[in-house]
Symmetry: D3
């Protein structure tokens, strides 16, 4: 919840990079800057709470059974023996398995509709995780903080979905994203076709296999199996000095580079 | 595009894990299994294309200027000198900077609305990347393949958004996600309130700062600044054997554990 | 076992990339494609089993003692509190310590003898791990699945070793690999010599210190200690703008680049 | 070659951990300790060579075309602009794409036959890479060092394969590994059967589809397709507090934990 | 302690790379080479101790309560179920959370004062960790080994700090590092000024907010808040084929590249 | 410089976690909070600069020679083809080789002297890197920004070293760190002894091999070689179900666990 894929560090950094990379001033940039700042506040809130919770973390020989508060600390901030050894009972930017937070978690493509969808996703995954965590403690103080975070995640889910609608209403972007790639340059004959690659029979029952598309540009159809197929590729013969196993005779020493090339072209 | 955060390996594995973890049979599971299979087909398509493109990759001393096809190979599959040395001119599960694909890229929470939102996001980011890549080559064969992938991404964006609507219509899940966490247990007073943490003045102009919420359960309001504040926390005094710097006298040797505890409690 | 260095995801992906990168059609490519497909089946088998096992995973406050089945789930798929929080009791592409699966685990060099050796190694490490795991449960259903996997690993060990023999018999590759690098270009005088760098006295008793070599091209000899030695390298003086600590006077400001160069050449 | 998956750091560390974990004294331990020491020597040799090569690495504004020696430096040690900025023209424990060396690269299972197979694989992949690298320079000094490393890799390939034979001859281990897992506990009916999961027709032509097995314990047979199949699993119903999407009514607030449990058991 | 950020592998490798990259022969290089060798000895000492401790690690079904010695093994070398499964009760190059050792942990910039400061830091963090660990066991043998390591860390802290003083006395480097960057080229007006960005009031009470600087080149002053400010940047308009969301009309298809450029320049 | 080991993200996060984990209020906490805030400002400054620099990044087919500004962008923020494809010409939290920023880069042990030493080290490495970078551009705007950062790094080096002196003067911590570990419990006879493990002869000439120690508690001495030695460890015999290679007869099937135990004890 602090340092995982959908933890507070991720959303704080993701919104920050989206803000720094944003091409247009105004309400969208202010929104992203503002929520980034709020999320850094949540990072601080969690980190300080973890440090407070761990004040009484055991360091001695006897390993007491894990108490309730510490379970939450463990889940929120990945506390375990390494928190004692490495951080002296402090918070660390890791997930609950000890994996350090990674810059690869964030998304900031510069395309606002795609990025706001990524944000909505992050707030959903985050709220699911906080809701699961809520039941792992009965400490009223911690539950109170989680209840606050759940409400903010409710706000943020709504807000990013609204911002997506507003981007469309403002004519800045639409579906499919990116909408200003020329549609006639894609293979339009398969752009709204459900191709069934599954053994299951039921995917054809969904609205994605018939009826108008969400983007308003097509009508879904259903097709059983792939529409294209490709023969197995012919043998490849990279330069002999790659030492791959090919169908060419195995005698590089005598023939050297140029003869090898000649053989290959024949 | 093959091995990056939103590459084909990611979506193939993400949909597979969602399918294996799915709690209900029927159209949703068949859908996820089916698209997972299609995406593994795309992984194969790209990998074989890369291996074909790299057949003529240089291995000798002279470093020729990078040609057009190889630029695409580089971007699609991260080709560079390591592809020659390590893979002998073959594809590798890495991104275009050489970062190996990571299991941390995928999302499969078991909550279908949240996961389908993650899928829609992945298809949007993926389509943005393919569209950017399209302009980096003028080889007709490669552009043809990219045009096919763009169309399938169009389909997949539409399909996941439709599946989200269908989940709501079927009464399986709704906003905010997870919807079956008791709403009265969250801090409802801040669940629809835009709190402005930004210096910018324009975030209040958005629809997220007023009007009915997307989830249909609230009305947005605008508040300038945080609604809560916390004093700086008091000194913490973890066990002296953590060797942290605290406000307690620095004399562990004489006082040992129990005396230290006594001091701490005072 | 699912997402570790030698887990099922590794072999499924390793064999897939070997197949996509293979330069020759026929029995070797079909073999690699076939076993890749079988291993993806094992990935699915394990993932679904984990999801079934975790159906009753605890989410509440009390931390029950870990039961037997869950121990196996933990080892097979790395289950722990993060499986509950992140995956809602589902499988994840991580190892039993929570490290995400990495594309750096796979090997596909394009040289088939080297790659099949890598495959034999993976099946050996894998079978050792399954055998160890077998004793951590007494659930008959799980033991039955492990007994099946053990038998398939037996088959796969034999098969890759046979394929290596067949590559030699077909004249496609031989030892030392790569065999078509001109032997006279390597330092032949140390190509079959055991050089003892260890304090231990017993390495000379092995067959690697005398007698004909496995590749049929040499006779092993024994030499105590290294055959080459190098004096400590002379001082290096990189460009002063690297700000390294060198034996040159420390006064870059006055002398600038060109004078510095002059000094260096003296 | 210095810091990659099969670079010198990997083999030096892999052999060291195998030595430290070895259960038996004598020739095998001395062998592994000895080669570990030799490989640390190669790490030093390469690192010093890189530092010497980079002495004249450019730091100024103009980006000169990459010269020959520097190409080799780049490949051997991953040199590029970060070597200048971070290491001031020194060696770094990274691969040629800048990925830092990882402890996940090494294998030391404690089962010597499996581990020696891993060692043979590492020496084969390593020799393939050095052979490819040989053609990327025409500097006589560097080629001389590579020719030396090629010869040592020849020795090491032979040596690990001989050590495997000796382990068998000494009765310490045999195929399939681990050989002391009771064979009757595995599913013997599929332990030597080639199961064809590929569309290709040619895998049945190999020696792995007929004839005696390499381990001497079975006779290979050929079977088209899988021998087992499993129905799609039934719905799973994890605890409602996981907030997964299940087929149970979505009304957790009223029913709480116990009623939910009751529903689930029905 | 074996494979973590400040474990023995880190210092052994850090000192080795510093030695290999060192530009000057003599006492500093011999020092770094010597301590590198000592630290490799510590790696071996710990690895062998872990392998000995784990000899009786449980492999069966029943999970016994973790005993004291094994707690230390766990902390020192990251032992847990994966040590049994993967390493068969042997040491592994991982930290106590199972994160593999990473080449990104080490520092070797070629600037000796900066690097010796990094070394002093590593020895301090390391000694703090060993001191914490000391209290987690009461096994006399292990405590004896830890007491030895604590003493060596005492030596190494003193030694690197002394070496820093000696570098200054020898005129090789001084503060601020790198000292041969021309001081007049930096913004000297803020080079010794404490700028207060914190809400807290007390930072101005420290010696860093007044009085002579440690490097002897300046006098500290105190300033409340930043000295520079920057307006929000203007809109950026990258190439339309980046598909970012910009303030330009969204009609790439008709206008193509050149017209787009024209628009942008206006 | 943005997302590397010693980049701005690292120091911003490192100082933040130190602040959140700090046990005492007042000048030290305000200092760490304040510099953390300043460093987040630097992150923003760099990210926005990169986004501005990349506005004209090429996306088309022709690969122009890399211009000067872009070189700096590349070094500062790791720009390359992936910045175009993934971020649409925006900043990303990666280093100049594309490695994502990692939570493993930061240090916050709770022991202030050790942590301030880590901070001084980070500012030194950072200033060395900025100084190197300064020479890679001649753009006056960028050089101006780098000159500002160099001055702040000068301040920060001085400040952390002063804070270390102040910690000692305030009696909060001293050398060796942690100072409140009982000195008599460490092996005092080797706590100030230089043990020479190097072939080089010159390490004995340094002040670390004689004279009073920096911590004021000892006198350095010189000893050639190690003071302790350990015999090779005896054979280990882990549980047979680990399937390691041991000196015990290889017949687990007949003897099972208990008999095996009996054998082992003999």
């Amino acid at each position: 919840m602090l340092g995982g894929q959908y933890g507070e560090i991720t959303v704080a950094m993701q919104y920050s990079f989206q803000a720094w990379n944003m091409h247009i001033p105004g309400k969208y940039r202010d929104l992203v800057f503002g929520i980034a700042a709020e999320e850094f506040g949540h990072v601080e809130m969690l980190a300080v709470m973890i440090a407070q919770l761990l004040e009484d973390a055991p360091v001695g020989i006897a390993r007491q059974a894990v108490q309730d508060d510490h379970t939450v600390a463990a889940v929120v901030g990945g506390m375990d023996v390494q928190h004692a050894i490495v951080a002296g009972a402090g918070a660390r930017p890791v997930d609950s398995r000890g994996n350090p937070w990674s810059g690869a978690y964030i998304t900031a493509s510069g395309n606002l509709l795609a990025d706001f969808m990524s944000n909505a996703n992050a707030e959903m995954q985050g709220r699911v995780q906080v809701a699961r965590l809520y039941h792992m403690t009965d400490d009223p103080g911690i539950r109170d903080m989680l209840a606050f975070l759940l409400a903010r995640d409710t706000m943020h889910q709504n807000q990013w979905l609204k911002a997506i609608e507003e981007l469309k209403a403002d004519g800045l972007e639409e579906l499919p994203t990116p909408s200003n790639f020329p549609k006639k340059k894609e293979h339009t004959e398969v752009a709204y076709q459900y191709q069934n690659f599954s053994d299951g029979e039921h995917a054809g029952e969904g609205s994605w296999a018939g009826g108008p598309s969400v983007d308003g540009h097509g009508e879904h159809t259903y097709h059983d199996g792939p529409t294209t197929s490709a023969p197995m590729p012919p043998p490849t013969r990279p330069d002999a000095r790659m030492y791959g196993t090919t169908d060419l005779p195995n005698r590089v020493e005598k023939i050297a580079g140029t003869v090898q090339d000649k053989l290959k072209r024949e």
